[in-house]
């Protein structure tokens, strides 16, 4: 009834290792969040968002906001929305195709392309976007400018491979009997995907979408080169330059002139954290309801 001493030690080591890893990670995250809360919570208030400007005028875009993060907040929201609109359908569709349809050859080529794209650092993607505009200006579109649309396209390209790969992996990870069963009941491949595989893989795919949205909201390197500026106010068209929360934080972290401005930076970071947290919470809730629906 007693295990060998050897085995007991390895078991104990494994247990301690796992616990330590978990506790360390949790402590690190809590430290980051706690520090932000401690430094930033005090600044939360209408002033942080709208500065001296009246909030209603600011929201309508009638009057610019100085010393407030409203424009950055709006810019980031637009950016996430636009880029997800572009990337999410394409990425999921591409992932499904690669996992369920494509020929071996196509799958290999496309899979490789997607992996490569996943490897493109965001700054290179920004560089690509920036150079693209320069090239376009010299050739077909002399009026092309960096701005919201360009940034959204680049960010969409950045998150696309994540979406493709998580979709593909989630589908590939399903047990083989699920894959056998649909066909044996006469489903077409698409029906099998739509009604059996996708619902089963839904969790995995949605967590891919979460990852993607998070990245879109937080990426700084791409927008650094494709249209984010330190002071811009609400964009009026897709081609306008814009402010974004992460860029504002990056900028203020280095450039704050007074202690008050530094506090503002902490407040901004806290807001960004809450924003991404909310996005994340929404996605999480969606995931839950979806799961309930397909299981019923």
């Amino acid at each position: 009834m007693r295990p060998t001493a050897n085995r007991r030690t390895s078991d104990l080591a494994t247990t301690i290792f796992c616990w330590t890893a978990a506790v360390l990670t949790m402590l690190a995250v809590l430290a980051v969040m706690g520090f932000l809360l401690y430094r930033g919570a005090g600044t939360l208030g209408p002033n942080l968002f709208f500065g001296e400007t009246h909030w209603w005028e600011a929201v309508r875009g009638v009057r610019p906001v100085f010393d407030g993060l409203w424009s950055a907040l709006a810019g980031t929201a637009l950016l996430v929305l636009l880029s997800c609109l572009l990337a999410v359908p394409t990425g999921i569709a591409g992932g499904i195709y690669l996992s369920e349809y494509g020929s071996r050859r196509f799958r290999a080529v496309a899979g490789f392309a997607v992996d490569l794209m996943a490897g493109i650092p965001s700054i290179v993607m920004g560089l690509f976007g920036f150079s693209l505009i320069v090239v376009l200006r010299h050739t077909f579109v002399p009026r092309a400018k960096t701005g919201l649309l360009l940034a959204a396209v680049c960010i969409a390209l950045l998150v696309l491979p994540y979406l493709v790969r998580t979709t593909q992996n989630a589908l590939a990870g399903l047990p083989s009997h699920l894959r056998l069963l649909g066909p044996s009941l006469g489903f077409t491949p698409w029906q099998n995907i739509r009604h059996v595989l996708l619902p089963s893989a839904g969790r995995g795919i949605l967590s891919g979408v979460i990852l993607a949205m998070g990245r879109a909201a937080e990426d700084t390197a791409v927008i650094l080169l494709t249209g984010a500026v330190a002071q811009a106010f609400l964009p009026r068209s897709l081609y306008d330059k814009f402010e974004a929360l992460p860029f504002r934080i990056y900028y203020m972290a280095a450039e704050h002139r007074t202690a008050a401005e530094l506090d503002q930076a902490f407040g901004t970071a806290l807001v960004l954290l809450m924003l991404t947290g909310t996005l994340f919470g929404l996605a999480f809730a969606a995931q839950r309801t979806m799961e309930k629906r397909w299981k019923g």
Binding site: V62, R63, P64, F66, I133, V134, R137, K145, T146, A228, V229, A230, Q231, A232, F233, R236, D240, K241, Y251, A254, E255, H256, R257
Partner: protein, 252 residues
């Protein structure tokens, strides 16, 4: 030349480039937009290199530089420059650092990595933390040409991306030394006297402090109406007030 000239204008004006200029640009933008909300002015930094490049490629309407354009840059992009202020570049240390001044040679030795300890220049018993700017910076170019005599900054120097950031970095590191636009200096950092001359706008303008430059706005070709109005405003009397308040000396 005054805010009234913006009354009939509308549209967007994009400004980028030199980081020394940012306080001036921001303040002017704020006043103009408050007077006429139909005008939108976007301001961002990036450094002198960005100013040349973006204005040159036509990606922004006004590109700022912290140095004069080279003949090649002017020829290639067809840029026009508008100088608006005089500024100096000064070595700075943490305000608690007991060292108050260095000789030019000491400055060169420190930035070249030949002097690595504060004690060698009469400071505390600690290693010197050198902070520098990226090569495309106008501030860097002026400091490198006029004080360092084109000697390369030591490779281990931490590279900082703007004047504002240099101030923050030096003010947070008690053993730091860096260099920045005089206009940006405030209580949080301490400028070092060089060969006995304390860098200030006064010593810069009277020629006793050597590392001096002008700040420019640049446009590709002749400025468009909104850019024209903006440049005129900066060069006006009201603009001079803004420039002075930001710590620079307006060019009349």
């Amino acid at each position: 030349g005054s805010l009234k000239s913006f009354a009939d204008l509308q549209g967007t004006l994009d400004i980028a480039g030199g980081t020394a200029h940012i306080p001036v640009m921001n303040e002017a933008a704020k006043r103009i937009m408050t007077a006429n909300p139909k005008i939108r002015i976007t301001v961002t930094g990036g450094g002198t290199g960005i100013g040349v490049q973006k204005a040159g490629e036509g990606l922004v309407d006004i590109g700022n530089t912290g140095r004069a354009l080279s003949a090649e840059e002017v020829a290639r992009f067809g840029l026009r420059s508008f100088a608006f202020a005089v500024d100096g570049v000064a070595p700075v240390v943490h305000s608690d650092n007991p060292v108050a001044g260095l000789s030019v040679q000491q400055v060169r030795d420190i930035f070249a990595g030949r002097i690595t300890h504060w004690q060698a220049v009469g400071g505390p018993d600690a290693a010197i933390h050198v902070y520098g700017r990226e090569e495309a910076s106008g501030t860097h170019e002026v400091f490198w040409k006029k004080l360092l005599n084109k000697e390369t900054v030591v490779g281990s120097a931490n590279i900082i991306q703007s004047n504002g950031a240099m101030k923050v970095a030096v003010s947070r590191d008690i053993y730091a030394i860096g260099y920045m636009s005089i206009g940006h200096i405030d209580d949080s950092v301490k400028p070092l006297a060089v060969d006995g001359v304390l860098p200030s706008q006064a010593t810069a303008i009277d020629g006793t402090y050597p590392a001096v430059r002008q700040l420019y706005m640049n446009t590709k070709g002749d400025p468009k109406p909104l850019a024209r109005a903006f440049i005129d405003y900066i060069l006006s009397a009201e603009g001079a007030g803004i420039i002075r308040a930001a710590g620079y000396i307006p060019l009349q």
